[in-house]
């Protein structure tokens, strides 16, 4: 092309031309530098979409996704999960009587496990239609206070309104989240085949994130003498006990570092959620399953009101795997996407064969 040859001419001319005959004393030429960057000639990789790259990509993605999906699906299916709704909306439900009770009310729900639950079994409570992710709800806490800051303990952040002070005293812990702490008590009783019963030991600790229990949440003035540390504050309106008496059995598990409290304070992303309540540790002998099949009773101390907002309460028993709890979605999604990919690959291949060649070889109009 002529244009290029012109350019070339100039490029050639540069070596002799631009440096004037004056030599050292010559005026500096205003010729731009010849760098790859300034001349936009940076070396570059220029991939383009061709049948040779796109079609194999589709097939490879398909081939990778389907096995992953199957793996995930199988893993998810191997997880054992058992769920009971104990809200008591159904008039036949044993907990129905507790719905309108204002005093603590106990009810028990019998259930049967068909299959043994092995390894550690995790016990969750689940709530639904509970907007823990509402903006005003999420904000309604004071992280400084929860981190043990003494001034925030006595002067909680404004974010906590209207649960900031009560009767003129600062609320500890303040805010709507703390105030709505889940306070049902759940226990499991196993009935041996010989009708004798045994209360299943439930572990209360180790249910929250390590970072939460050790960094994010701290008691003011350490864990000694919590009563004194929380002096001058009052308990949230809905609580039965002050924060330093949350776990009468374990003094280490009191105050802001109480793990039930910490779990609750980690607000859920969605209005239906489950939270870890207790852990049932596997038997030491490893021979008998953690929860053998048989009859059980769930003993509930029913305190938490959900009926008013049409909420539901569930108790869930679940084992876990490397990929967490039971959730078949990922497996199904992977299988679906993989198959679609494969299918698309075939369709595109056909299209490419039918139309591709014609267009690829088509001349560029001049």
């Amino acid at each position: 092309m002529m244009a290029s040859s012109y350019n070339a001419k100039e490029e050639d001319g540069h070596h002799s031309g631009s440096v004037g005959p004056g030599g050292a004393g010559a005026v500096k030429s205003r010729k731009p530098d010849n760098t790859a960057f300034k001349q936009q000639r940076l070396p570059a990789w220029q991939p383009i979409l061709t049948a040779g790259t796109v079609l194999p990509a589709f097939f490879v993605i398909g081939l990778i996704f389907i096995p992953i999906g199957i793996g995930l699906f199988v893993t998810s299916n191997n997880i054992k999960e058992f769920e009971i709704d104990y809200t008591g909306m159904d008039p036949d439900s044993p907990c129905n009587m507790c719905i309108n009770s204002t005093t603590p009310c106990r009810c028990s729900i019998p259930f049967t496990l068909e299959q043994p639950f092995e390894n550690n079994v995790f016990m969750y409570y689940g709530l639904s239609n509970f907007y823990q992710n509402h903006r005003r709800y999420v904000k309604s806490r004071d992280d400084s206070q929860l981190n043990g800051d003494k001034s925030s303990l006595l002067y909680p952040s404004k974010e906590c309104e209207p649960y900031r002070t009560r009767n003129g005293l600062p609320v500890a812990p303040c805010g709507a989240i703390a105030n709505s702490l889940f306070n049902d008590t759940l226990e499991l009783i196993y009935y041996y085949p010989n009708k004798s019963s045994m209360s299943i030991p439930l572990v209360k600790t180790g249910i929250a994130w390590w970072t939460d229990t050790h960094v994010k949440f701290r008691n003011p003035g350490g864990n000694n003498n919590l009563t004194a540390a929380f002096k001058g504050t009052t308990k949230p309106e809905n609580w039965q006990n002050p924060v330093y008496e949350l776990d009468p059995t374990n003094p280490e598990n009191n105050g802001f570092v109480n793990e039930d409290f910490i779990v609750w304070m980690r607000t859920a992303a969605l209005p239906t959620f489950r939270k870890l309540y207790r852990i049932i540790q596997k038997k030491k002998d490893n021979l008998t399953p953690t929860l053998p099949p048989g009859n059980y009773t769930l003993e509930i101390t029913y305190n938490y009101p959900v009926i008013s907002f049409d909420g539901h309460k569930r108790m869930i028993l679940s084992t876990i795997s490397w990929m967490g709890g039971k959730n078949p979605f990922l497996g199904i999604a992977y299988i679906t996407v993989g198959s679609v990919c494969f299918f698309l690959g075939v369709v595109l291949l056909i299209i490419h064969h039918k139309f591709g060649n014609r267009n690829n070889n088509a001349d560029i109009p001049n």
């Binding site: 092309m1 244009a3 290029s4 040859s5 350019n7 100039e10 490029e11 031309g17 010729k31 731009p32 300034k38 940076l42 070396p43 570059a44 991939p47 383009i48 979409l49 049948a51 796109v54 589709f58 993605i61 996704f65 550690n120 995790f122 239609n129 509970f130 907007y131 992710n133 509402h134 903006r135 005003r136 999420v138 904000k139 709505s180 994130w209 390590w210 970072t211 939460d212 960094v215 994010k216 779990v263 859920a268 992303a269 969605l270 870890l276 852990i279 907002f309 049409d310 990929m323 967490g324 709890g325 959730n327 979605f329 999604a333 698309l344 595109l348 299209i351 267009n359 690829n360 560029i364």
Partner: protein, 1165 residues
């Protein structure tokens, strides 16, 4: 008098110190987006104070970028204006001598007042519009160069009134001068002035001949005095300078519209969410009060109202302010590339290209119409004697050993004229055989050059001994006489009765008996001379068709050969003249001479009679040969024009030149081509005729076209201006229109007709146009065509069109700088235009479009996720992402990769861009970024945001970590969603990038790493312990990013986002590939193409046989030369011009348009 005279100071600057801030801010807030951000800015703090925390974003997320944008733009405007101030000051402070209180004082230009008398000296610029009073030259003449006004470099003559001229340089008389001038109000017509001077109770008429206009330069005149009539802004020069306009690109306009649309869309989304909130409050919220009491006194309706505003703030990221910062940075970067381009650097003048405006780059990729000046832009305004045909033999071509024509380059050996002491050293001729013929004394060759040395009206000037300078009315004549001079026939001097020629070293004086001057009808000129031996000869030169009719029958054989040569020359775009002579015998001549005298003194029909007399003697001529003069084009002009034409850019040449010259250049630079079906010429004298000719042309091109212009149906948002649709035409046509007709055609009722006809043609040439007409033509196209215009020129006469066009380009490196100063881009050579448009423009446009598409995509996707989340968080305006992520997303995480994309991306490299100029097409049609593309972008974002919200939602729903602990909490979900988003948008970026440089890679991977590094840092123990309330996300990164299902989710979402795009693009490639796809595929398969393949040589077609000729003459000095008896100034330092004292209608300036056509009708080819 009530009229307030302007003083002579000019002001082109826009602001001063006081007005800068308010005016500039006002201008900036006219930009819709800036106003939008200002609103948001007010809304945010307002909302947080009045409405109690409806915002979850900090106020500084908007204010800092806004200030940044405003101050960056303001700084640029300020520096531009400082430059203008500086150049104004420089002009205003020039010194001139003013006659004050009886003495000459040096004064600054700006202090010159209307009514002052000033003295100008040679080579000075004319200070203001002056009435010429007196001059040093005889007959009160002055010579001026008007290059700054109309681009013509040949000298023009002005003459003062005798009554004022008599004052000479007598200071007493001049100070006592008390004449009164009455004239028309200031206007912009350069060729017209009416007024009268009352002096000593006599009234004298004043016309344009007595006026010196500001911007001209005084030449060859020792001094002159003038009376200031108009100063400063009132001068015709300034009246001709269009207003400096604030130029915006069409993408800017589109963006303004889009911002409005987006704003509407935002309001729509917020309304949906607010309604949702109302319903939610009514159904769920009211019962959820157990755990989350209502705000004070807020009922469902009021909280819906609050939610609306909360969402306005949260979702405002659809148009983040960083968009504007990035756009400015991209434009700046692409402007620097232009400055840095070595291929647009001109070595000879040491001028690199310069992007003087940094905001118009992408427009360079959308040019549809180019308006070009001719002189100095397309041509160098140098005429060279290039070829000749003498006695049937053609000289001038250089042949190689095989007899093939060789291309003449700088290195080709040229004829050595050192034997000739008087030769012009600048003259170059390459054919050695011609000189040999001269030296061998070939009679025809000698006669040929003798004719050239005798038959002309050139004035010689011998400044130093042996240093001849010719002063020619037209550069063509100068070239011919110079050629004769170099070949040993030196035209030395002339008197009214004689011509002195040095023939091969010996001085011979011919007696000049008659000059039969050139005019438009005759198209030839002759001289009758008597040689020292007493031989009477008539020498004639003129247009081929005219001379051929008057040849002696014996020449018919020679005629055939010469015609062949003529066709060849014309095909090369040369201007040809045929030369002939005739020996006269004494008696006949004496008799003729008497009749001639009688005719020239007759009172009736003198012209006709003279013509008849001339006709009589110019008969039975002997053919000598033909000369061919090249109007030298700038380097590479034809190739550039051809390239631009291939890119479907229409080129209009607007020139102050004569029609023939312009047309000839049109052919020689490939604008007008032989393949064209027809070239229409509009040269009429009344509006009706013009209309008729335009209509005829249009009917011919498109018989079916309706009488009413086809207006484009424009949307509601489009302005009232009527946009004329393009009409389809078969074949290529050209249009030539002269200044007179253009003036009619630009009138209100004919404008559209002109536009329609002209736009159907491939090439349009307008000649004899004034600067303002240039601007009007550009304005016409700009107003009524939905197209981007570019004006290119080099002189002050191009300033107005440069200012009016969307993009103005100035040719720098020449003397005048006005064009460059008001231009947006400047470079040294016209040929760089193709690189500016086809490479830089195209890339800039492509990059900008890619940038916008991607930027909108990434921000819509980002924002829509909030929208979907609204349905699951009780419409509470809870954000999906961490507040820090929202702040940093546009500023840090995604800023650099997209900048890398829009600064480095190239679809194909520059060489392929040149090879396939068609790649330029999509830009003209606005294909890459339009309202449609925007909607596509919106849909794509919608899909992506659905994937990016619902896949994490489903994946995290009711699930737990691999140790049974929580992962479905809000913070982990936020981290998951933002990671998915970032990976997905970066994958999309990867798909959009064609050109992966190391920098792109670094930016992309760097940004991803920075994201993870920043996340881990901000979610670390340390940060939390220092600022517990600012960094509540402690530990989230550690606790969730070690989960396999988190990564599986990220992988799944990004694949799902990318796959459909990939499939769509592949399908498009297979089924409906566009030009880019094709060229890319092509280049991909030819990556190892060697140099030859990309530089196939398009040789200029030299074989086109077009019998054309141009005589770029105005009527010469013939009258003056023969009407001797006056003024015999010895030939010394200045050109001696012999003028009749009654030179009322001085023939010199009679450069009226010439109406004959040079395209012969016999288009047998």
């Amino acid at each position: 008098m009530s009229y307030k005279y302007a003083n002579n100071a000019i002001k082109t600057s826009k602001y001063n110190l006081l007005t800068f801030l308010p005016l500039n801010l006002f201008e900036q807030f006219q930009r819709l987006a800036n106003a939008y951000f200002l609103c948001l800015l007010i809304l945010q703090p307002l909302s947080s104070f009045l409405l109690k925390k409806i915002s979850s974003l900090a106020w500084f997320t908007t204010v800092v970028p806004l200030l940044l944008v405003l101050s960056m733009t303001a700084a640029k405007d300020a520096s531009d204006d400082i430059n203008r101030h500086r150049s104004d000051r420089q002009v205003n402070n020039r010194k001139v001598e003013v006659l004050l209180n009886g003495e000459l004082k040096s004064e600054k230009w700006m202090n010159v007042q209307v009514g002052d008398i000033i003295k100008l000296e040679s080579n000075q610029f004319v200070t203001a519009d002056l009435l010429l009073l007196s001059s040093s030259e005889p007959l009160n003449l002055v010579y001026i160069e008007t290059a700054e006004l109309d681009g013509e470099t040949n000298l023009k003559v002005k003459q003062a009134l005798t009554v004022t001229g008599d004052m000479g340089d007598s200071i007493e008389q001049l100070s006592a001068f008390d004449g009164e001038v009455r004239c028309e109000p200031p206007n912009n017509r350069l060729d017209k002035f009416t007024g009268n001077l009352t002096f000593q109770s006599h009234t004298y008429a004043l016309d344009n001949e007595k006026i010196l206009l500001r911007g001209c330069t005084l030449r060859n005149t020792e001094w002159c005095f003038g009376l200031v009539i108009f100063g400063g802004q009132d001068t015709k020069l300034m009246q001709n300078c269009g207003k400096t306009m604030f130029k915006r690109t069409s993408i800017d306009h589109l963006m303004n519209v889009l911002v409005l649309c987006i704003f509407g869309f935002l309001v729509f989304m917020c309304t949906v969410l607010a309604i949702g909130k109302g319903i939610w409050e009514y159904q769920d919220g009211s019962v959820f009060t157990v755990f989350l009491p209502r705000q004070n006194g807020a009922n469902a309706a009021f909280s819906a109202f609050l939610t609306f505003w909360s969402y306005v703030i949260i979702l405002n990221t659809v148009v983040p302010i960083s968009l504007y910062v990035s756009v400015e940075i991209i434009r700046l970067g692409n402007s620097y590339y232009i400055d840095w381009d070595r291929k647009m650097y001109h070595t000879n003048s040491d001028t690199p290209a310069q992007a003087r405006t940094t905001t118009l780059n992408e427009e360079l990729g959308q040019i549809k119409y180019i308006f070009s000046d001719k002189t100095g832009t397309l041509t160098q305004n140098i005429m060279t004697f290039n070829k000749c045909s003498i006695n049937g033999r053609s000289y001038g071509d250089v042949l190689d050993f095989t007899g093939q024509r060789m291309e003449i380059t700088e290195k080709t050996e040229h004829v050595d004229f050192s034997w000739n002491r008087l030769a012009d050293p600048k003259f170059r001729f390459h054919d050695l055989s011609l000189l040999e013929a001269v030296k061998q004394g070939s009679a025809e060759v000698q006669a040929f050059f003798r004719l050239l040395a005798l038959c002309h009206t050139v004035m010689p000037e011998e400044k130093k001994e042996g240093e001849l300078v010719y002063q020619a009315q037209s550069p063509d004549e100068g070239a011919l006489v110079t050629a004769a001079r170099n070949f040993g026939f030196v035209f030395k001097a002339r008197t009214p009765e004689s011509i002195e020629v040095i023939e091969m070293g010996t001085s011979i004086t011919y007696e000049l008996l008659a000059v039969l001057d050139f005019n438009n009808v005759r198209k030839r000129m002759s001289v009758i001379v008597r040689s020292p031996e007493g031989k009477l000869t008539l020498y004639c030169k003129g247009a081929d068709t005219i001379i051929y009719e008057r040849l002696h029958p014996s020449c018919s054989k020679l005629m055939e050969v010469t015609t062949e040569h003529l066709n060849e020359y014309a095909g090369d775009g040369l201007r040809t003249l045929v030369l002939a002579y005739k020996d006269l015998d004494e008696e006949y001549f004496e008799e003729w001479r008497l009749r001639h005298h009688a005719a020239s003194t007759s009172l009736e029909d003198r012209e006709e009679k003279l013509d008849a007399i001339y006709e009589e003697i110019e008969k039975e001529l002997q053919l000598l040969g033909a000369s061919a003069v090249e109007d030298k084009l700038q380097d590479g002009v034809p190739q550039t024009i051809e390239q631009l034409a291939k890119a479907d850019i229409k080129i209009w040449v607007l020139t102050g030149d004569k029609q023939e010259t312009a047309e000839n250049i049109g052919y020689s630079c490939n604008m007008l081509r032989e393949e064209m079906k027809e070239v229409f010429t509009v040269a009429a004298n009344t509006a009706e005729e013009v209309k008729e000719e335009l209509l005829n042309a249009r009917r011919k091109m498109c018989p079916g076209s309706s009488d009413d212009p086809p207006f484009l149906k424009s949307g509601i948002l489009a302005k009232k201006s009527l946009v004329v649709e393009d009409e389809k035409v078969d074949g290529e046509y050209g249009l030539v229109i002269n200044g007179h007709s253009l003036a009619f055609a630009l009138q209100e009722d004919l404008r559209l007709e002109l536009l329609r006809t002209a736009c159907m043609c491939q090439a349009v040439i307008c000649c004899r146009v004034t600067p303002l007409q240039k601007a009007q033509v550009v304005e016409l196209v700009k107003q009524h065509k939905k197209a981007v215009t570019l004006a290119i020129g080099d002189g002050a006469n191009d300033v107005s069109m440069i200012k009016v066009a969307h993009i103005g380009v100035g040719i720098s490196g020449q003397e005048g700088m006005q064009a460059v100063l008001s231009s947006d881009y400047s470079f040294a050579q016209f040929r760089y235009l193709q690189r500016l448009l086809l490479v830089h423009g195209r890339w800039s446009y492509l990059r900008m479009c890619k940038f916008l598409c991607y930027f909108f995509y990434k921000n819509f996707t980002f924002t829509f996720v909030h929208f979907w989340y609204g349905f699951f968080c009780g419409f509470s305006a809870q954000t999906v992402y961490d507040e820090w992520f929202i702040t940093l997303y546009n500023l840090v995480y995604t800023a650099l990769p997209v900048l890398g994309l829009s600064l480095f991306d190239q679809d194909v490299n520059d060489r392929w861009s040149f090879q396939y100029p068609q790649l330029y097409g999509p830009g003209q049609l606005n294909m890459y970024f339009s309202a449609r593309a925007f909607v596509g972008c919106l849909m794509h974002s919608c899909y992506s945001s659905l994937v990016l919200f619902f896949i994490p939602y489903a994946a995290i729903h009711d699930t737990v970590r691999d140790d049974g602990k929580d992962i479905a909490d809000y913070q982990s979900f936020a981290l998951l969603a933002q990671t998915c988003l970032l990976v997905a948008v970066n994958m999309q970026l990867g798909l959009d990038t064609f050109y992966w440089t190391a920098v792109n890679q670094f930016f992309l991977w760097g940004s991803m790493s920075v994201y993870f590094a920043v996340s881990f840092t901000m979610y670390s123990n340390g940060m939390y312990l220092i600022f517990p309330s600012s960094f509540p996300f402690i530990g989230v990164a550690r606790n969730s990013l070690n989960q396999p299902n988190v990564w599986l989710t990220v992988f799944l979402t990004s694949i799902l986002c990318v796959l459909p795009v990939l499939a769509y693009r592949f399908l498009r490639l297979q089924l409906k590939p566009n030009i880019n796809d094709k060229v890319q595929t092509h280049t991909h398969t030819h990556t190892h193409c060697n140099k030859n393949c990309s530089r196939f040589i398009t040789k200029q077609e030299t074989g086109t046989r077009r019998s054309g000729y141009a005589f770029s003459h105005a009527r010469g000095y013939g009258d003056l030369v023969t009407s001797g008896g006056f003024l015999r100034r010895p030939i010394k330092t200045r050109p001696a011009l012999f003028m009749r004292s009654s030179a009322a209608g001085s023939p010199v300036a009679e450069s009226s348009p010439q109406m004959y056509r040079t395209i012969p009708e016999n288009q047998q080819l």
